[in-house]
Structures are given as C-alpha cells and as structure tokens.
Assembly symmetry: none
Homo-oligomer: 216 residues x 2
C-alpha cells in the first residue's frame, strides 16, 4: 500500500516541545503530520493510527523505548520508527538497532542531519546518525580488541596529578608548597616536568589539560 504522501505521528513527552516540533514537522513538504501525543503507550489508542506510516519518537531512555517499539512493531509491522534519544553507550546502541527502528539519531543532531534522517525514513530507507554509527563501530571493535587504551593519567605520577590539580585551582607555587609541606623548588620541578610531559608551555596550558582530564 503506497501513500502519495507519508503520514507521520509525533511522540514527545513534553507538551510545549511536542507542539513546537509538531509545527516544525507540519512545515516539511515531504511528510504530513497526522497526530501527536506525549507517550508511546498512547499511540495504539489513536484513532488515526491506521493512516500513520512513521512514528517520530523523542525519548530519554533509549533502551526502554526500544523495547516498547519492538512490542508495537510485532502488532503493527507496517509502522516505521525514527528514534531521537540522548548519546548512546556502546551497549544500548545494539539494543536499539535490534528493536528495528528505521532511524536513530541523537538529540544534539544538527538540523541538516535531522532533515536527512526524516527524509530517508519517509522514503523507506534506514538512517543512523554519526554518533550512533560511531558507538556501533566501537561496540563491535570491543569483541576483537581487548587492549585498553592507555589513559593520559597513567603517564603522570600521583604527585604530578596532585600538583596539576592545585595549579589548576589557581594556587601559587608557594601556596601549593605549604599545602603539601614540601619546598617551592620541588613544586617548580614538578610543574616543569608536567610542561614537558603534557607538551604545554605554561600553567594556562596545564589548566586546560586538567579541565579536559576532569581533575578539576
């Protein structure tokens, strides 16, 4: 059964965003929005469900939602699903793909990725976003490679991490020396070693590394 236009239904848990996104979808020419609701549970009760081709689902719990989608697909195999969810972890991404969604992108996707996804799904194709593909690749690599990537932290000694933390906390060399009950010169030496190990030229550089490493 081919429709001339694809009929879509939107699911978003928040009324305002549901309405707002619905409006946005209504302005797309390649699909026609026939309904919206705030929960996936509600869609099988919708009177216009038989007209729906695509369900666009916003959900914060990808796995739980994938599970629901799988159940619904067993009853209404005609329905296609485009899932919008937070950035997935390597485990959940396989669960979601297994549920048979036609599209899966992250909330943070840019508008053009959105357009591509919704067009692809409405044309009967499949679309997975960049982040999803990445996690998928990552999860399949895990089965082949057990080698844990050496972290930057292993490279630094405990003391050095401590110094790094204090430097990035706006402490002066003198203050750090007092705090740790060691000589200023020792602190200076540690700091200098950190420069070389981390390939930066001053404390500002150290601070950025510290922020990236999460020690502050």
């Amino acid at each position: 059964m081919e429709h001339s236009t694809t009929h879509a239904c939107l699911v978003h848990p928040h009324p305002l965003e549901c309405e707002a996104v619905a409006e946005w979808l209504r302005r797309r020419s390649y699909i026609e929005l026939v309904g919206k609701c705030n929960s996936l549970d509600q869609i099988i009760q919708l009177p216009y469900l038989k007209e729906v081709d695509i369900v666009v689902v916003f959900a914060h719990h990808a796995e739980k939602t994938a599970d629901q989608i799988l159940k619904i697909r067993k009853l209404y195999s005609r329905l296609k699903f485009l899932l919008l969810a937070p950035s997935p972890c390597a485990e959940s991404v396989r669960e979601v793909i297994r549920s048979g969604v036609s599209g899966y992108i992250v909330f943070e996707a840019e508008l053009d990725e959105w357009e591509r996804a919704i067009r692809a799904v409405s044309e009967g194709k499949v679309y997975y976003g960049q982040e999803v593909m990445l996690k998928l690749a990552e999860s399949s690599l895990e089965t082949f490679i057990q080698e844990p990537a050496p972290t930057t932290r292993d490279f630094l000694s405990k003391r050095e991490v401590e110094i790094l933390r204090l430097v990035a906390s706006e402490y002066s060399t003198n203050r750090i020396a007092n705090e740790l009950c060691i000589s200023d010169k020792t602190v200076e030496t540690h700091r200098r070693n950190l420069f070389h190990k981390l390939g930066v030229k001053n404390s500002v550089g150290l601070t950025k590394v510290a922020v990236r490493m999460g020690v502050v």
Copy 2:
C-alpha cells in the same frame, strides 16, 4: 528602563527543538525573540546580548544550570531567567530558587502554564510552576531568599572576550599585544579588569572561565 516589547533569548541544547521552540516563541505577540543558542555558556558571547531581557533556558540538570545562572546574573544583573527543567527533588528546588530565576516550570507543563509563565516573567513578575511550588512547600518551612545580583556591571566587552580567548590560548601578554597591535600595558589592564569582572585571581582562573564559556 521599559521596552515596548520584551526581548527574549532561547537556550536549548538540541538544535531541532531549539529551532522548533524558537518558532513557537516567535509566534507569541507579547515577546520578541532576538536570538537562540544551544548552551548557556554561549550567551555572554552573543553580540545582541545587550538587547536581551529574558533568557528562556531548557536544561536537564537544574542545579548545575542554576549555578551557571547565578554566575551570569552577577555579571548581567539585568537579565531575567525562565528555567525549564525536569521535575525537581526537594533539595534542588531551593538551589534553583536561590539562583534568582524569575520563572521555573517543569518540561511536562501544559501549554497554558507555559503561557502564564512566560507572560509573567516578561512583565517582570515571578512564576513558579505547580510541581515546583509543591516541592518547595514539601522541602521546608524556612524562608528562601533569591540571591541578589550584587554587581551592576554589564557584560564583557568584545575586546575583553578577545583578550580572554588569547590568554586561554597560552599567549603571553607580549604576544597578545603584538597580535592585536596594542601596548602590553593595555593588555595588562584588560587582563586585570577581567580578573575583577570574573572574580578570579590569575590567568589560570581566566582559563577555566574561558573553557566554561566555550571561547576556547
């Protein structure tokens, strides 16, 4: 200072919903949307910030966001904030109120509550949603006080943001001066002003602010 129309800025982490909600807001007659972005950190860089009266913030972590709002309010005390967040717990709700937001409602709020909230805030009033009030009552009998924005100082100037960026890029004062074709003394003065405006004591502090702001 009264504007004839209230100027709003939208913050939503997800590009699509940001765009969609922005469109919805543009159709409200009582406010005028002048800008949008995906992160609260970005707003102080916006060139049109001086025109903004209200910032409508969608955020998943209410407390973290409240903290950011408090900091921003210390620099731009003129700004009003309407916060949209998940249902709060009894502890976080006080933190959020204390941050001085003018409005606070949950994502799941119905459209009419939305309308009431945004109207109230744009008229200079305060609006807390039903769920928020409930949690507030539940949390305590003690008085909650909104944190006053202590400084009347306005936002960072363009030049200051530029200096901030270069400092956080590990540039020395001298190098910055050459880069911008101004005197070292001028750069020093800017840097010192940044210390005071941002409440930090050295370049390491500036760097952390810069990272948080996303200028590096």
